[in-house]
């Protein structure tokens, strides 16, 4: 749609925000026009969140002004932002699980009938909103019973119910399947057609190209450029975002596939309550190949990894590594037999955030020579080793005594990858290895995975990002309901087919590759 003539609804003028030691926003200006989808693109730590938190009233700018429809305003708390018609759809939903859709939407703004909440008119109003924007949400369903995509719509309706005209979407597609992403895009188009304006925070260039009208690129707190989407292309955007040219296509040779390394046979895992989590799962990963596990979150990916690494006991079945059984061995034994693991949640599992970078580098090897002698740690050797890893893997940290907590997400991930790869494993598990990382860091991670595969290691890549799986994996296994429901080769398939398999519609039978 042509928005050239549309009036600006929000203008951020010369916004500067300083934190001790850094300038998060350096005189940033951004104009949101009525009825446009404006993408905000930038690496982690570029200042996107700070800027949006200023707009939403969570931070105060040190310099600069915010104008709404041409009048300067002060937004010093989120309630004021809501009053001005600004709504935020958070990346992590803020919903009460056992409450119904209606109850969640009206929470804090309940229509009253005497002393009671007027549920009838509330749910009628919710139904009306749902219809107006084509959201197809049942006002009386409980949140715990509806899909992630539906939950996101409830978040959108929360802002609409509060009268938002300006919607901020923070990385909205991170948790969705390809089909759900399509639907979300349709909803966003409907919203702007109804006169809403949208700011879309994302690092996915594909989505920006597809849905946005204009893009503002931020790097290190400064606006690099604002461009019309139809006058740009992904590689141009990526270059502006990171400040150098980035290759999307991963250069890799044909895999040189060897003997099976990991073999999982009819693995079953049940939760304490007896719910089946892995349901007779078969999987083979051979030396020199990357096998990608595609699937919607919650279909057994986490349990699959936990079963391999010994973090969870399996109820039946066998797991072998290079022919030797590692079924239900303690985690340390499994690590020692040659398994490395880049975990899904780097804060929960990958790092001890209150440990220094140095201490984190020896998390699994601290008890071995040369890192300890007798009962004592050898601080000097550990320091030298950590220094070497930091240098080799380009972990940007002030020094090795810095706490892992104060590193950026990308550098935390680099530290984990350094530690896991340097153990020289036979089998490497990479779970969501690029989640939350920017383009430059993603490129680094992918190169490392391919390098491992080229050295003849077996690599298992678990990811919710289909692009990542399609680009990096040599073979794709689709997981659904705790089972591998199909195996395909990237060159023989497409997003559509994978999406349907991930949703459980097509069963291609676990054919164990080949």
């Amino acid at each position: 749609m042509s928005t050239a003539a549309a009036a600006p609804v929000v203008e951020l003028k010369q916004i500067t925000k300083r934190f001790p030691g850094i300038i998060a926003n350096d005189s940033i200006s951004l104009t949101l026009r009525k009825g446009e989808i404006h993408a905000l693109l930038g690496e982690n730590g570029a200042g996107k969140s700070t800027l949006m938190n200023i707009l939403f009233g969570l931070y105060q700018p040190d310099e600069g002004t915010i104008e709404m429809n041409g009048t300067p305003v002060t937004i010093d708390n989120p309630n004021k932002a809501i009053k001005y018609g600004i709504g935020m759809v958070h990346q992590h939903f803020k919903l009460v699980q056992p409450f119904t859709v209606t109850e969640n939407i009206i929470l804090g703004m309940e229509p009253k009938k005497g002393l009671n909440i007027d549920y009838k008119s509330a749910s009628a109003q919710v139904a009306k909103l749902s219809e107006q924007y084509g959201l197809q949400v049942n006002p009386n369903s409980k949140i715990q019973d509806i899909s992630v995509g539906m939950q996101q719509r409830v978040e959108i309706m929360k802002t609409l119910y509060r009268g938002a005209d300006i919607l901020i979407f923070d990385e909205p597609t991170a948790v969705l399947t390809p089909q759900e992403i399509e639907e979300l895009m349709a909803i966003m188009r409907r919203l702007v057609a109804e006169g809403k304006s949208i700011i879309l925070i994302t690092h996915k260039l594909k989505e920006i190209m597809e849905i946005s009208d204009r893009v503002t690129i931020i790097r290190r707190g400064k606006v690099i450029d604002t461009v019309d989407t139809d006058k740009t292309n992904p590689s141009d955007l990526a270059e502006k975002m990171v400040g150098r040219s980035v290759s999307f296509k991963i250069d890799k040779d044909e895999p040189n596939i060897g003997q099976p390394v990991l073999e999982m046979n009819q693995v079953r895992v049940e939760s304490k309550e007896g719910v089946s989590l892995l349901n007779g799962l078969d999987l083979v990963v051979r030396a020199g190949e990357v096998v990608g596990i595609a699937g919607v979150d919650g279909n057994g990916q986490t349990e699959l990894i936990e079963a391999i690494t010994g973090l969870r006991k399996i109820n039946s079945g066998t797991i072998t590594l290079s022919g030797r059984s590692i079924t239900n061995l303690p985690t340390r034994k499994i690590i020692e037999s040659g398994v490395s693991h880049i975990p899904e949640d780097r804060h929960k599992h990958g790092l001890v955030l209150d440990f220094s970078v140095k201490e984190n580098m020896i998390l699994e090897t601290y008890y071995k020579t040369p890192y300890s002698k007798g009962a004592f740690l050898d601080q000097r050797t550990i320091g030298e080793y950590a220094g070497k890893l930091v240098k080799d893997f380009d972990v940007r940290t002030p020094d090795i005594e810095t706490k892992a907590r104060s590193l950026s997400g990308g550098n935390q991930q680099k530290a984990i990858i350094a530690r896991e790869i340097d153990k020289n494993p036979d089998f490497l598990i990479a779970a969501q290895p690029t989640r939350g990382l920017d383009v430059g860091a993603i490129e680094f991670v992918h190169k490392q995975l391919i390098a491992q595969r080229d050295q003849g290691k077996a690599v298992l890549l678990v990811s919710f990002e289909l692009d990542e799986i399609m680009n990096v994996a040599d073979r794709i296994a689709v997981i659904y309901g705790g089972k591998i429901v199909g195996e395909v080769y990237p060159k023989d398939t497409n997003d559509q087919e994978l999406g349907l398999m991930m949703a459980g519609f097509i069963d291609k039978g676990g054919q164990k590759g080949e």
């Binding site: 690494t309 985690t331 929960k348 599992h349 001890v352 601290y366 008890y367 740690l377």
Partner: protein, 357 residues
């Protein structure tokens, strides 16, 4: 001057020091409200603590068990646990030391005292390890089990003393002959009850530091304390570390009780209520920010104030309970660091401006 400033901008030093000053001010205000003279009271307090060799020695006596229990709470905390049961562990240590000493009556002190010390420490450790075991194997919160074990320890100790070691007609055990007193120092301190426990307490603090920050077992324990999930991911045995950490914590507490019997009282009373060493230890650990050196200083402060409060009541008529208000306020200000920082803010700003000029 610059160097001095550097040291004092260290938050870890400034916050407790300011908190202490604020606590004393709060105490002074309360005294004024009650028509007491705070200057008189505080000078009486100081005089009581450092006024004579005897009082210095007795202050050291007061401080010693606080170092032990403070270390006990801090150690468990560093490993991710809250040991509310130091009090029970103190009692078990005490009772074991009493039982061993009385059973070895007639054996030379050079043999019986070390045996009693070792037994008292181990018993305290095992008592705490019960809570650790229940947490590791059954997932029961250690706060609950240690509190319950405090009561079990109290009545169990009383039972042992009453049934096996009671001094006829008294509500206490028979006298222990072998003692851990430092008789060679008694003359310097004018017969104050100084004992070897103080030395052991300082060694325990040094052990705490070296074990936790220099050894691989300590590394493991801190990893478990900070992030159990990451420790598990890295192949550490979380359960074993939980039990071990509680055991070591309990040894510290057990030694506190041991030396109270062997070094100070030379008998064990039948307690009507829990003696409270362990709960004071929680305060000391908080004051000392769970660091062994901090704990030693915090114990000196806490013990000094407590011992000095008697002087306050003699000389200025201030009820000794008032010292609890002061200690409470100091802990409050340390816990509520935001308030301290808020009060300090103008000073920091001023300094910044000076720098610019």
């Amino acid at each position: 001057m610059n160097k001095l400033r550097k040291i004092f901008t260290l938050d870890s030093l400034v916050v407790p020091l300011v908190a202490i000053v604020l606590g004393l001010i709060v105490g002074a205000l309360v005294m004024l409200l009650g028509n007491y003279n705070p200057i008189e009271a505080y000078s009486a307090l100081i005089k009581r603590v450092v006024g004579s060799p005897y009082h210095v020695g007795e202050t050291i006596r007061q401080v010693t068990p606080l170092i032990f229990t403070g270390l006990a709470v801090a150690f468990a905390f560093r490993s991710g646990m809250f040991n509310i049961g130091a009090d029970g562990q103190v009692l078990i240590g005490m009772t074991t030391a009493t039982a061993v000493s009385l059973s070895l009556d007639g054996v030379h002190a050079l043999v019986s005292v070390p045996l009693a010390v070792i037994a008292g420490g181990l018993a305290g450790g095992c008592w705490a390890a019960i809570a650790g075991f229940l947490k590791a194997k059954r997932g029961i919160n250690e706060v609950i089990t240690t509190i319950m074990l405090n009561w079990v320890a109290l009545y169990f100790s009383n039972y042992i003393i009453r049934h096996f070691f009671l001094l006829k007609g008294q509500n206490r055990s028979e006298d222990i002959q072998a003692s851990a007193s430092m008789t060679f120092l008694s003359s310097i301190f004018d017969n104050a009850r100084v004992h070897w426990g103080t030395v052991i307490a300082l060694i325990a603090a040094a052990f705490f530091y070296i074990y936790l920050w220099k050894t691989k077992q300590g590394y493991e324990m801190r990893a478990v304390g900070f992030n159990q999930h990451a420790a598990e991911y890295a192949g550490m045995n979380v359960g074993r570390n939980v039990i071990k950490a509680m055991f070591i914590s309990g040894v510290f507490a057990g030694l506190a009780g041991t030396f109270e019997v062997l070094g100070v009282f030379h008998f064990q009373s039948v307690f009507a209520a829990s003696p409270g060493y362990g709960f004071d230890g929680i305060a000391v650990a908080l004051l000392g920010m769970n660091h062994p050196i901090g704990v030693v200083f915090a114990a000196i402060l806490y013990g000094g104030l407590t011992y000095g409060s008697a002087g306050m009541s003699f000389a200025a008529g201030v009820p000794p309970e008032l010292i609890k208000i002061i200690i409470g306020s100091i802990i409050f200000f340390i816990a509520a660091q935001g308030i301290v920082r808020f009060i300090l803010k103008p000073f920091y700003l001023k300094r910044k401006k000076e720098k610019v000029l």
